[in-house]
Amino acid sequence: MNYPIIKIQDLKREFRMGNETVRALKGISFEVQQGEFVTIMGTSGSGKSTLLNVLGCLDQPTDGTFEIDQVSVKERSKNDLAAIRNQKIGFIFQSYNLLPRTTALENVELPLMYNGEVSQKERRARAVKALEMVGLSDRLHHTPSQLSGGQQQRVAIARALVNEPVVILADEATGNLDTRTSYEVMSLFQDLNDQGKTIIFVTHEPDIAAFSKRTITLKDGHIVGDNPVPKIANARKMLAMLPVEAD
């Protein structure tokens, strides 16, 4: 049952800087179906983050239409947007953004704290399950400073999974990680995608894009390419091929 999770039409985003207007997105249209794994590629400044912020309902487009999970996100109040972020979107950042001096479990519970319908018991159970999914069931009570970069990013991924979003958005999620850890994280994304999760992944590195199923390339706020990945790389196999002393 394929249906569009994301549907954008002629999307524009302009920033007014004094009397100058920066046009970061100049009319973008595409659809992402349930179960897809899409990479958004492009050089620095091409508008990737701006696009992802709009998709994540952190920002609102200047013009164009945008539907998420077949619901229009247009002229919604700030509170509505917060509720959409809480229930439909899992966001992953380059710099993890975990709360310091807070355990992995509590970090993962955070989105559910803002959902009044989830009881304390259920919240705990779901956070434990999400951490199990990212392979950190033995690190529940570690704080970020007691975890490696890769582990921290996996906690962040668990946090993005915990509210069972319709789409996971990741902005340069491997940008701060070395090659081996990047591959570990990508194999995790591939596993999640195999389980049916829809993923939109921003990167400027072609070898990372090769793990996804489809690549959308941006340049100066325009889409200049939207192609299926011809030969999808398997992150777990690549990981096995890495020389041990590589990191």
């Binding site: 912020n53 994540g56 952190l58 920002d59 700030k78 509170n79 917060a82 509720a83 972020r85 809480n86 229930q87 966001f91 950042f93 953004n97 709360l99 310091p100 001096r101 807070t102 509590e106 955070l110 989105p111 704290m113 803002y114 959902n115 009044g116 946090r159 509210n163």
Partner: protein, 405 residues
Amino acid sequence: MKAINLIKIAWKALLRNKTRAFLTMLGIIIGVASVIAMLAIGEGSKSSIKTQISSMGSNMIFVQPGSDNRGGVRQDRSSSQTLTLEDLDILREKSTLLSDISPQVNGNGQAIYAANNWPTSIYGVSPEYLVIRKLEIADGVMFTEKDVQRAAKVAVIGQTIVENVFPDTDPIGKTIRLDKMPLRVVGVLEEKGENSFGQDQDDLILSPYTTVQKRILAITHLQSITASALSEEVSEDAVEEMTQILRDSHELSANEEDDFNVRSQQELLSTMSSTSDMLTVLLVAIASISLLVGGIGIMNIMYVSVTERTREIGLRMAVGGRGLDILVQFLIESILISFTGGVIGVALGLGSTFFVSDYMKWPTLVTPESIILSFAVCVVTGVFFGWYPARKAAKLDPIVALRFE
């Protein structure tokens, strides 16, 4: 969004920085503690003045001579002779609201017995004086109405006289001399201690007023009249009644001023307690300033905290926190700080009040109102000073906040 979740979030956020939370609290702790201690000291001195004044006598009313301007020349009050025995008799006869009444004439002199002597005062009064002033006889008897009629040379003496003039003799039946006047001691008064002005209330000799008038001062007028009203409630009415009786007796016309002065114990009490009320207000004002400074401390730290935690705020918004949730979280944080500070402050305030009364022997009185008041003030402080930083946090744009370095 459940309120309980927000309280949990705020509480966890505070626990992440315990030292800072405590240091922020310190201002509130000191503020609340000093407000409570100051109020306790102020209220304590007020209530001790009250008990002291009421221990001076029961519903007392004092009549003193005023200036006599019938001659057109204002006289000094002490030399004024407008109160007479006639006034006393008329008051006794006509007043309906008095239980006891006694005239008073005072003199000074050197009390002498054997080789001991002591400068003291002699009060010429009637036997009712004992009841009016709540004095008790410790030993012997009070002089009688008969002694008054005969102007008998008898005396009832206070404990200070006993200590200084009769250090190792039983004074009853002995003859003490006040300067040259010999007086037979018939009774000794119970000890009364110092009054709130630091005066020794045991340093006195009581004698019939007739004796003091004729044999010591050689005067016929009275220096004052002291009376007891039937009850506290009627004491103001009694003052009015006495004033009217005296005006009639002195044949004063409507446009003439009183040539005497009637005041009640209640009046004295309210004058005294208004002075100590002012003291309390002053103390509390100073203490409130430290509470205010504590509140500004909260605001300062919350501002720093909002800036420092900008990315945290951005993240909370990204995972679904609404502006209101963020506002309430920071508000709860500052209320928790001030509330916890308030609890510790109340404990510290009670502790230091205890110390002040126990070791420094100051009278103190902790009223529940003072605790409720300072507690309420401190929670309001939390809301008031937490509001602006919290609103600043709530108004952040999630993307800007997430990018914040």
